[in-house]
Symmetry: D2
Subunit: 328 residues, 4 copies
């Protein structure tokens, strides 16, 4: 049985708490949140205590922490948890500043605690099955990876201002997917970006539409497309092309219903809420973390993955600004 302390009782914290309950080998012991009411509700629902960080991390019964609080708190909490010897499940990004991420990683290394960065898409059943087939050689040598990632609609501008920008906030998921699917590290990043969805995003200094090309040492490349708005739902697709074939994973829909009428044939648009689209991925990533820590294995993706995706996001940010490819 793995006992958890959860930091952050917001939307994603609730998801992880429910998934702890669904896992047969885990229990939620503490909930920590600056919003006492939110912490209290969630703790009550799962038979956990409302605590502060010090007391929760001081509880010897706690084996692991889940960190879903705001990004600026991650570094301190991860480091505290590491020093307290608790395994760490940390929402992405570890931090928006790569220098600070490196500091976190050195504490992780020094303390030797299991450290997991929650790139949930790797655990989506379709993407996971696709990546396994790639690793099994179904497409031969990987030559081209195409990632489409479009959100149903933009977040509030207030969120965007603190987000680190589209590349660090949104495309960072795709950078992780790219590394995972390419099977080798990108060596150069070229980005184009513009503000086409909402001028307020541009006024906040960010972009909402972007395309990136990654190249690798073997000559393979990856193209990523992002938009903060897709009127037809949450558009999340992956294509891997190689010497022996192509693998694709498409969008998911709520139903399989198809209507044939005088105007044509109509089917569902993609699921349009990320918590619904990736519900299984959230559950599976937690199960895998619990399983890995339980077996004494290093959980994956880990801190290095978090750092490398951030470095790609930094390079893309610079490339979009300068108009030139940026080596990594």
């Amino acid at each position: 049985m793995m006992n958890f302390c959860l930091f952050g009782a917001g939307r994603i914290g609730k998801i992880h708490a429910a998934n702890v309950a669904l896992n047969g080998n885990a229990a939620l012991r503490h909930v920590v949140d600056v919003d006492a009411a939110a912490a209290g509700d969630l703790a009550a629902r799962h038979g956990a205590a409302v605590s502060d960080a010090d007391s929760a991390l001081g509880d010897p019964a706690v084996d692991a922490v889940i960190i879903t609080s705001s990004t600026d708190t991650h570094k301190t909490l991860v480091e505290q948890a590491c020093r307290a010897g608790k395994a760490v499940f940390c929402e992405k990004p570890v931090d928006l500043d790569s220098a600070r991420v490196r500091e976190v990683l050195s504490v992780v290394e020094e303390t030797g605690v299991p450290f997991f960065v929650a790139f949930n898409r790797r655990f989506d059943p379709s993407f996971a099955a696709l990546q396994k087939k790639v690793r099994d050689g179904r497409v031969g040598k990987v030559e081209q990876v195409i990632i489409t990632s479009r959100d149903p609609g933009p977040p509030p501008v207030g969120y965007i201002k603190a987000s680190g920008g589209l590349f660090r906030d949104m495309m960072i998921h795709d950078f992780d997917m790219a590394r995972w699917l390419l099977g080798e590290e990108p060596t150069e990043v070229y980005a184009v970006a513009s503000c086409m969805v909402d001028p307020a995003i541009g006024e906040a200094g960010d972009v909402d539409t972007a395309a990136v090309t990654l190249r690798t040492a073997s000559g393979a490349f990856c193209q990523i497309t992002n938009s903060r708005r897709a009127v037809y739902g949450y558009d999340q697709r992956v294509e891997v092309f190689g010497s022996a074939g192509m693998l694709r994973a498409g969008n998911r829909t709520a139903t399989t219903v198809e209507y044939s009428g005088g105007e044509g044939v109509a089917t569902d648009k993609p699921l349009d809420f990320f918590l619904e689209r990736y519900a299984e991925a959230y559950r599976i990533e937690l199960d895998r973390f619990i399983e890995a820590v339980g077996k004494g294995e290093k959980p994956s993706p880990g801190g290095e993955d978090g750092l490398r995706s951030l470095l790609l996001a930094d390079a893309a940010t610079e490339s979009a600004r300068s108009g030139k490819p940026v080596p990594v």
Copy 2:
């Protein structure tokens, strides 16, 4: 909060117990099963007591029962629960003998308890969305309903011997779907059937492959196809054709992965286990039952639906034997 007693701690009982736990307004109080170990395991998992029928039904804290024990116990348990004033969620079939079902229904009516027959397919998100569109007039007047229902593989012959035969055990789901989608009652049944999957099924007096035509007073008809074996998974499809268009709901797959290679393009076969294929339907049907009883509404489908589907199964059984259409 609705407190439940569960009869039957087998495969489907466990599903319903887990769904009680997922519903925010319900709790499992008692588990009753002749297999004490199974009852004990399941009760322990959900903080319930292991009980016998009398004590469980005598507990004034129990609001409702879920009956998943063997079919031959349904009648007695439903009647007992009714007389104890407990709302009843009963797995199909109510009984294999329509005369006995009528007796049950008269007890239900006399006692006035809410009575639900668990035709889970009505709650599958795709079938439910399709049926709603039919009711909303998207296909105009319904003229043809086509139902495909093929299991991945046959149950053990021992099960088949006690099942009442393919029409009462398997196609009964499709008869319920047919009535629900046609929106009117079939007036005649014609069935052809054969034993093509396993000679042992034929030796047990049953068939494993069947096709039925239902006709209605309006001139609409329904065609149903059943097989006890589909090597490619659980094949469950529905098509409704009418004056203004056609609606179809297809199979569900585990992933959206598509492989393009030298031989062609390959995708997942359908999910091949009914508990997985209908996982959402099982959860939703229980939620709907709890919601209806909580609001004092009559839960649907009810006893009349259970009876009418059984009468269609009886007629199909007779038609397959005699080779002639049978009026209902």
Copy 3:
């Protein structure tokens, strides 16, 4: 080089004339039609002569005839052509009366001329590829065949009155497909039918909506669905289910364009004109006829196929009237 005389310069005659021109080994020599203007136009377009039946059949340069004139003329023309020693390509049906078809077949047999009945659907690339896979054993033993055949809209009532009724005029194609896909002869026919599309069709003594079940000696069966109207186009689908899998062939569309918008995902409706839907099939059936006759092989489908499909249509007509299954 095979020289043709074409009987009938109407819609389907023009198709065959164009396909003669596309075939590198054939030429059109004569066009015969009671409508002199239509014959003249078509003959001029293809460098052929306008002739009457006697002179055309008397021309020793003519190797073969294509008969697309009205059904009531088929018998006489086939017999004349046979006695003149010309190979015969005859539009279905040979005749609406099975006794008369038998007379034709005895002339065919007596004269030994190649005789082809143009069931064009066998030559559709999708249906042909599917049937080949069935014959190659991909689905194992064939157990269930499901045929959907719905026209975009009904023909004029005047046409319907002379058509022999839905089973002989429309479903006869599906009876041919059923025999071809089952790989064995149906032994019993059960039909339900109604008039739901247009009351005028009912007043003319015909039906417009029908479903048929065929059973065979091996225990396999076939279900056929017909409607004279599908608002979404020409709905022509086939499904063959067996011990080792399932094969399906679906509708064809004009384009592969898919639109994802706020309301869902929309694609083309099926092609809605039979000459467009089966354009390739018409071309290929003529090529195959020319090839078979050129090689001295018996063209297929032949007269026996025409007769057997008509006998199934007769049985279905009787079953729909009597409400009882009819042995064949």
Copy 4:
């Protein structure tokens, strides 16, 4: 009636000759080819004369020319035809050198003859329907265009050496599609390219795998992916994403057959020969040329389109070499 002289009796010349015959308002008068046997065969098949360029262009009965001879002959032939007052249908590219293309265009302008550059993909029914919907505003403001273009296999290295390189030979089609779909001119090109299919292509100084990003003044962009080899067939897809939705056109297959077996569900791979994939497009482009010239309208795409696509190919070639984005 439009009378044609065809230059080039090779593979693509035969296609155009057959399409002249299918068009009701056109005839082939002359065939010119250095290979006398090829010219003779094709001329005989279509009732045309074998001629040399001077006599063919001197024939006052000739209205138009089709130029499918080798690229290095295009400039001279186009200019000769222009000065002879014949409308010109010219295979792409006009020339591999943009300075020479400008010279051709000045002759076209000076002589005022209709000049058509045969970018056949614009006439593919799916791409044409998609582009029409884009122009009709179905996706709102175009923000992202994604073009996938992969050949089944590479041409001989001898062909590649004279081809001008992948960007001018293969991706030039995609540059034309990009301009046509974006609805505005690209202002900058960034290309990555490598040799992953065949080392002999690299030894010949060319690449076989490439990805390009185009950006426009409005902030829209286009991503293009090319490979000289796709084991699953001819992969030709287009996606246009905008403020109001997304349009996609996918690959075409020979049949709609779908096989469901124990391993999954299998469908056809894409058509794998470009003459088959674009058969309709070749026919339609010629029909449109004939129609435009007949009505005195300027045929489209024209010389300017040929030039602009070549300039994009030049820029991509330079970008792939320098590793930097290149303004256009």
